[in-house]
């Protein structure tokens, strides 16, 4: 562990100390500029491997359903960016495309990624295209060797692209195994949180804006983004800004798994979502640098205008609705933001546009039938009712009626305060510089004044 920084430097090819400007502060934009690629370069890299340029589909029947349950004049048009059309079936191909391209360019023989989700399949697919070795490290089983069906499917998919998959039981010590493999192989760390990984998602936000202009003649009013580690929000929002869609509101959405511990051997198989949930969404928003690189390029609080949560049962319900009403069978995790949009559209006017920026592939294990069946086997009650009564790990409540679906606001100010507090605690300081305070303002989308007020509340002085 003492060698962590050295291993990371070798495995990501970035000297993060170059961007550090004060104790807490670092030059985020400089890091993105100097180590990332321009939007145009990313577009070319992605085009060369068949990634991106996915269709933007109008969900007319779902919009009609929204209007049936909305007050008169309400019910925005819902559009969906069908990211399942990427080579490995999710938007994660965008992130993997840049990382793997970069690894190849720098002469690495292989790539390693620690992920139980779609990103593993994306890295494996991109590595196959570029003829690189690939190792995916997964948190997969509980101590009974019962695996989440969704993760087992991801193992299969990674292996079908020729990757080696290392499977572990529950626990954050996965990171030690990951580091040991990086050290042993000398492969590239295809981290989700490197500037390459984030630059890869910028094209998604950019395409959303451009396609809306082409197809509808205006920018979207709202873009809803599934929020987990922060990269999806950060990259998409940066892409929207690069396209000049500066008035588009960025809304993050996560599945509410409150009460379930992410490192619990017992809770592991009592949750039906392995990503896109609050177990990642909240900790990564309030401490983005918890990731596998020294400074994460995913910094969601910089971009979020609003953050909402939805319930597991609601996502399964909307997943079925998408198949039955729109003829699109897609994986449940990717429909997190669609579920939030279904509610948010009811608050918006009929002439407004709400875009859901991703879908993901579906199949055995990674399907609402498989997830609900697995939940029942693990003692979770599945029933119709009011989703407000859902308690993660105890029951899954399918809404009795679509009007019962809700997006519940998370207090962003509270998260921002918590992030600032974490900075003070983790850097073990009792006073910070003006530069640090300015950085915190940028990193939380607050004014310098607001940051200083928060700092004085926790008795931290700002010195010159």
């Amino acid at each position: 562990m003492a060698r962590k920084n050295e291993i990371m430097k070798k495995a990501v090819g970035i000297d993060y100390s170059k961007f550090q400007t004060s104790t807490i502060a670092f030059d985020y934009e400089k890091m993105m500029r100097e180590t990332g690629y321009t939007l145009q370069e990313v577009q070319e890299i992605q085009r060369s491997v068949g990634v991106g340029n996915t269709p933007l589909l109008e969900l007319k029947n779902l919009t009609a359903l929204v209007r049936k349950i909305s007050p008169k004049g309400k019910g925005a048009r819902i559009f969906l960016k069908d990211e399942a059309c990427n080579p490995s079936g999710s938007f994660k191909d965008r992130r993997a495309a840049v990382s793997v391209y970069h690894a190849k360019k720098l002469g690495y023989k292989g790539v390693v990624a620690a992920t139980s989700g779609n990103y593993g399949a994306a890295v494996a697919s991109q590595a196959a295209m570029r003829n690189l070795d690939c190792i995916i490290v997964q948190e997969c089983y509980d101590s009974r060797k019962v695996g989440q069906p969704e993760i087992l499917e991801k193992q299969r998919k990674c292996e079908c692209y020729g990757a080696e998959v290392v499977q572990l039981t529950v626990g954050p010590e996965l990171f030690y195994t990951f580091l040991r493999i990086l050290e042993e192989t000398g492969y590239f760390n295809a981290s989700l949180y490197s500037p390459y990984g984030i630059a890869g998602v910028e094209t998604l936000g950019y395409e959303v804006a451009m396609q809306c202009r082409e197809q509808i003649g205006k920018d979207p009013d709202v873009v809803v983004i599934t929020h987990a580690g922060g990269g999806n929000v950060t990259g998409t929002a940066r892409g929207l800004i690069k396209a000049g869609a500066v008035n588009t509101k960025v809304v993050g959405a996560s599945v509410d798994l409150t009460g379930l511990h992410m490192a619990s051997d017992k809770d592991f198989n009592r949750k039906s979502f392995t990503t896109g949930h609050t177990g990642f969404g909240i900790p990564f928003a309030t401490w983005p640098d918890r990731s596998d690189v020294p400074r994460s390029a995913a910094r969601p609080l910089r971009y979020l205008d609003r953050y909402v949560t939805i319930k597991q049962g609601e996502v399964f319900y909307i997943t079925e609705a998408l198949a039955q009403l729109e003829g699109l069978e897609r994986g449940p995790a990717g429909n997190t933001s669609l579920t939030a949009a279904f509610y948010l559209a009811q608050e918006m006017d009929e002439d407004q546009i709400i875009v859901v920026q991703e879908t993901e592939y579906t199949g055995a294990g990674k399907h609402h039938m498989a997830q609900l069946s697995f939940a029942k086997e693990n003692g979770i009650e599945v029933k119709f009712g009011n989703p407000e009564d859902e308690r993660a790990g105890t029951n899954i409540i399918l809404p009795e009626h679509p009007s019962l679906i809700r997006a519940r606001d998370v207090d962003l100010i509270k998260l921002k305060k918590s992030y600032i507090k974490n900075c003070i605690e983790n850097y073990k300081v009792d006073e910070i510089t003006e530069k640090d305070a300015e950085f915190l303002a940028e990193d939380t989308k607050l004014t310098l004044e607001e940051v200083k007020n928060i700092l004085s509340e926790i008795n931290v002085k700002v010195v010159k």
Partner: protein
């Protein structure tokens, strides 16, 4: 017990961290169990199921562990039929058609 031949594709199991070696901040139920790992590769020598063996993985790493499966296969599926799902589609289609 049957001999598994050298060169067969297998899965091995290894304890990465024993109980007592696990990270301090874990919930109790995770502290009480070891951190386990499974890796697949080609068997480097003849062995029997349950033996401590050595394999060579697809990326040419040599990994040791207990031999647990030969030609490991995928067993995940769509689960048992969940009738509730069927009702969702029927309800929604009716709502759209009839205007409820």
């Amino acid at each position: 017990m049957e001999i598994v031949k050298k060169g067969t594709y297998v899965q091995v199991h290894q304890i990465v961290l024993n109980v007592g070696e696990r990270a301090a901040n874990l919930p109790e139920e995770t502290q009480k169990v070891p951190l386990e790992m499974w890796v697949k590769g080609y068997l480097n020598h003849d062995a029997k199921l349950g033996d401590e063996v050595e394999i060579t993985t697809l990326t040419n790493r040599v990994v040791k562990g207990k031999l647990v499966e030969v030609n490991p296969c995928y067993k995940h599926d769509f689960g048992k039929f969940v009738p509730e799902i069927l009702k969702i589609g029927q309800d929604l289609r009716r709502m759209l058609k009839d205007g409820e």
